[in-house]
Amino acid sequence: MATFVVLAVVMVVGALGVVLLKQPVHAALSLVGTLLTLAVTYVTLEAHFLAAVQVIVYAGAIMVLFLFVLMLLNVQDTGPRRSLPGLRWAAYAAAVVTATAIAAVAFWDGRPAPDPAVVSLHLQGGSAGGIGDALFGELLLAFHLVGVLLLTGVVGAVALVQRRAESAHGAPKGTGLPAGRDAADGKARALASGGRR
């Protein structure tokens, strides 16, 4: 329990850092820290597989891409923006109210906390087998739908980028070039030119 409290505090501070830090890279780093702490929390629940996947996928891949884009675009805080007066404070107030409501409900929850031993037992020592059973059992449809979702994302991303690449190179639109080779070229070129800027 004490471990959990420490980890929870670190996670909340990290999450606040994501929102409050001015420098985008710092905010992203704060998010990395939060995700890593979450992985440690999984370890304390003996969910080792989940912890490793959390680190590899979120901290090791997704956040690196996040930071990559932040650095490539060199995003800076551009100072005050035009917005409705008081909007910022209204947002803070809404956040505080929501957080308070959630905390209040959480503390009023009458149920006893589950025994960690029981939780660990359900997690089967954090092995990959349990997750595999869930993924290819009751979540089979969700698993396949995620595939469709990723396909949609890829098609959408290529559609948006490809059009820009085509018009940037002055190629006639809608000539029906085979997309695969060209997309890879475009991607490599985009990365390369980004690297040389």
Partner: protein
Amino acid sequence: MNLPPIMGDLVVLVPVVTLVVFAALTLLFGVFTRERAALGGLALTGVIAALVFTVFLWLQARAGGVAVTALGGAFRGDALSYAFSFIILIGAGLAVVLADGHRVRLQLDQPEFHPLLLLAAAGGLVLVSAGDLVTLLLGLEIMSLAVYVLAAWRERSRVSEEAGMKYFLLGAFASAVLVYGIALTFGATGRFDFAGIAAAAAAPDFAARGLLLLGALFVLVGLAFKVAFAPFHQWLPDVYTGAPTPVTAFMSVVVKTAAFGALLRTTGTLVDALGVGPIGEVLPAVLAVSIGLTMVVGNFGALLQSGVKRMLAYSAVAHAGYVGLAVLAGGDAGVQAASYYLFTYTFASVAAFAVLLSLMDDDDRGDRLERLAGLGRRRPWLAAALAVIMLSLAGFPPFAGFIGKAVVFQAAIAAGHAALAVLGISTAVVAVVFYARVVMTMYLREPDAHTPVARPIPRRTAVVMAIGLAATVVFGLFPGLWLDWIARAPWWSAGF
């Protein structure tokens, strides 16, 4: 290899799988051919095939009288899902034809356009057929992700880019809220599936009602964003205006119908699960306030617009408020009323955008009201079509829009929301003003030298308009065609 019993009746997945397969085919076809014109036909074939399968399954379910589920209840084939899938597929089909007629002019002929439309429709089908919250979320995301891209489709158009960006950012935020709500609901009940949530909440020792309420509120907010309930409607006017008009038509029918299907199922389950008492009162109260606000904001917002496309966008918000009355009414009556409203709205909305398309410039701009001046004399048929649609949307008898409002108000009053129904009727009077303004401009105002002449209508667009117009009139005169048909179905609560 023998399948585990969890598989259930996989046949209910056929419409969704059909759409995904045709999306993949269209994608591959687009890679290997220069013949872009064929892609629209292929996409339409996919939609029609899915429609045929849906109708077939629906008839089968009616004959059997029970809801069919697949994969452990994750995917449901009941009257709600079939009725809404049917509406979604009709809307998608009309939008595909509409886009095809203006494909080259509006630069929609990139090979990814149709696959994304099909994937969005597939996501919509998943959304209305979801038996658990995870499937629901994934359906919503598949649909939304495709539509974000479609909204930003117009090249080098800041308005379109703004539309896509705005929709994406706010949509992602709404999804995050939804996911959080799902997590809290799971924390309260330990289940993702609607049946399980209902069962867990019905248990006598259920102690987490507060947590469930919080989760339900977050889920409601996440879905309210998609159906554009006030105060989560603010993205809608900009996105509808900025997106290419065929995509706007698609969004106003497919996305809206799918989101309402999910909202009906979710609020139905959650309101029941929360039960009676002070905690159970909160969710309907919040929903009622939001719906009241939606009707007011939508109608008065539309009143202030000078562009027809933007006016239709605000009116879409207002119509969401009316369908919301049916959601609030809940139960089988609410679902039936909502399905009738959305079914007829689909035809009217697509037809309205079809007329608008033939009036607007090649860059998809120019929707000022003044452009309609003198249309009644220059293009009497086009003007008549638009007039009928406007009157139907305003709720004039004998068109379908009138019956739609009538059944919705009836359901709301029957469920004890008389005050809200009265508010709805009064705002509907406001709506008459801005719809009538369109009609008046067409017939009474003289065109000046700058008023452009409407271009000839592509045949495919004319077909869409004819279908929309015919349905608006026929279902207005004979509402029983739809209402009686769905009243004799195994309804959504039947399977639990």
